[in-house]
């Protein structure tokens, strides 16, 4: 149906932790400016998969990967691709907020830019990203305060703003709301809905309702394998594979 080239193309991706294989021959495509939800029971390789996409997986001692990942046709694992520069194009938000404790809110947002010596209109960037994450009104009068003074939900939105300030093309989110209360979760989901107009988003979630709410496409992982991939509607209403059906109907996981 779509003739446009997928933003991310994954082909036969395998990953190991030492001798334990965590991912087996994963192949899928992520459409530009869409939201892909990765679902599956604990330990199925969802986080590992996403961490391969920004080459964070290989930073774990003993971890390695094989396979191809193309970003706009460019091979992420080729010798010419600098993982550090890659991570500015593919950003990541983690499960628990990891605000830099010794930096103020403003410094946190600008951390990715300042540390890389990127110049720009810092004040505008701070305002823009904090507005994008619906945090601006809450913190605009205390940008110089420590980021640790914010609530959990606010800290996570600060982390998202920090990731956005670097202007990535793809945003990876590893269970971004799992440490948050329901109200904060709703805000983050609202945010994702707005962000997908500009960014390509891959979100790992163990909450199927969340996947249904925010994503257009869903991939179901089980025991390191991609069991099924399709539109969210299809996966959750008439999945093709038996395992998928068992999972989404709550029979296990």
């Amino acid at each position: 149906m779509t003739a446009a080239r997928p933003k991310l193309e994954v082909e036969k991706l395998n990953a190991w932790f030492g001798t334990t294989r965590a991912l087996k021959d994963i192949s899928l495509g992520v459409q530009a400016r869409s939201v892909l939800a990765i679902i599956g029971p604990s330990g199925c390789g969802k986080s590992t998969f996403v961490r391969c996409l920004n080459r964070m997986h290989e930073l774990t001692p003993g971890a390695r990967s094989e396979g191809t990942v193309l970003l706009d046709g460019e091979d992420l694992f080729s010798g010419g691709m600098d993982p550090v520069r890659l991570r500015r194009r593919v950003g990541m938000v983690f499960q628990r907020p990891n605000v830099f404790p010794t930096m103020s809110i403003r410094e946190n947002v600008l951390a990715g830019l300042k540390l890389n010596g990127v110049r720009g209109d810092y004040e505008t960037i701070v305002q823009k990203t904090l507005q994008q994450t619906a945090l601006w009104d809450e913190v605009k009068d205390r940008l110089g305060e420590s980021g640790m003074r914010l609530s959990g939900g606010q800290q996570q939105r600060l982390c998202i703003a920090r990731a956005l300030a670097v202007e990535p093309e793809v945003l990876l989110m590893d269970e971004p709301a799992s440490a948050l209360d329901p109200i904060a979760t709703a805000k983050v989901e609202e945010l994702i809905d707005e962000l997908k107009e500009h960014y390509t988003i891959v979100i790992v979630t163990h909450n199927m309702q969340q996947a249904i709410r925010v994503s257009e496409y869903t991939a179901f992982f089980y025991m390191g394998e991609l069991i099924e991939y399709g539109t969210t509607k299809k996966i959750f209403t008439h999945p093709e594979r038996r395992q998928t059906e068992d999972y989404v109907t709550g029979k296990f996981g």
Binding site: K12, N14, R55, E58, L59, R64, S65, E66, G67, T68, F77, S78, G79, G80, M81, D82, P83, V84, R85
Partner: protein
């Protein structure tokens, strides 16, 4: 087509430089150790060449004027003062550690812990000053005469009560190594899983019995390590000992007699030692001291690590 993804592709020059600098700093520590060994061996060579290693160790005459150098008086003095220090400090430190971890309410624990930290921070020369002005007169006027009267028939307590001597130095050392033994023992006791103690208490043991049955057997190895660390400190402590030991390079049986320790003679004589033999002999003493404290330190830390590691795995 399987392709192995190389994680180092596109590494940064900055990373290499940073890693290299860090390795330099780390390696520098090893270099320092090597330097200590090298310098000491080099400087002591002329003395050993002239006197011979075993003659040096076993000789009991120290006379720089006549080029006669024997290490025995200093080895003896170091050992005797350290022994006194251990005999006095160990029961006090262990009692202190037990009190802090097992018996004291939280507020008392904090206050006493603070005092112990203070003790640890007082410079050696201040201990020496207090020892000279307070401890020595006390020994001379009250303690030594009393001990002499009661136990004078024992060679240990014979002789005139001078004040300065092995006993004074040993006692000040005891005070100085107290915080070391106590704080390491506290650490060992604290990493003990409370289930062991609670098991004993649940059987109806009194607090002391619980300590004796459950706590001490497990903490024994770590506490031994703590004592060894304290012993290491006692062997190498310089200033306070120099000020209280009397500085006589002789061997006497009585604790009241003046003596000399390895560290003290090095500190006292090095500045004015001329030629190559005198400094060489002093450096030889330094080598002896280095070797002993090295051995002690290594085994002590091994013991402490074994004990706290073992206790954690028993949890």
């Amino acid at each position: 087509m399987r392709r192995r993804n190389d994680p180092s592709a596109g590494g940064h020059a900055g990373d290499q430089v940073f890693a290299g600098s860090l390795t330099l700093f780390g390696g520098g520590v090893l270099v320092v150790f090597g330097l200590i060994v090298l310098v000491c061996v080099q400087l002591s060579r002329p003395a050993f060449a002239k006197i011979g290693f075993f003659h040096f160790l076993a000789g009991s005459d120290w006379n720089p004027v006549e080029d006669s150098f024997g290490a025995l008086p200093f080895i003896y003095g170091t050992l005797v003062t350290a022994a006194i220090a251990i005999v006095v400090a160990v029961p006090v430190s262990i009692g202190l550690a037990l009190f802090l971890t097992e018996m004291a309410p939280a507020r008392v624990r904090r206050v006493v812990g603070f005092f112990v930290e203070l003790l640890a921070g007082i410079p050696s020369v201040v201990y020496g000053l207090w020892g000279l002005m307070v401890l020595v007169p006390l020994l001379r006027s009250s303690v030594q005469p009393a001990l002499g009267k009661a136990f004078g028939f024992v060679p240990l307590f014979s002789g005139p009560p001078l004040g300065l001597g092995y006993l004074a130095a040993g006692l000040i050392l005891a005070i100085m190594i107290l915080p070391t033994i106590a704080s390491v023992s506290v650490e060992v006791l604290r990493t003990m899983p409370s289930s062991l103690r609670e098991g004993a208490l649940a059987l109806g043991a009194t607090r002391w019995e619980a300590i004796r049955m459950a706590v001490l057997p497990y903490a024994r190895r770590g506490m031994l390590g703590a004592v060894m660390l304290g012993l290491g400190r006692a062997l190498g402590e310089t200033m306070a000992v120099t000020m209280l030991i009397g500085n006589q390079p002789e061997i006497h049986a009585s604790l009241f007699a003046p003596g000399y320790s390895l560290a003290s003679v090095i500190a006292n004589e090095y500045a004015e030692a001329t030629g190559a033999i005198h400094p060489g002999a002093l450096t030889g003493l330094a080598l002896v001291l280095f070797g002993v404290t090295l051995l002690l330190s290594a085994s002590a830390r091994l013991l402490v690590r074994l004990s706290t590691g073992q206790l954690r795995s028993a949890a």
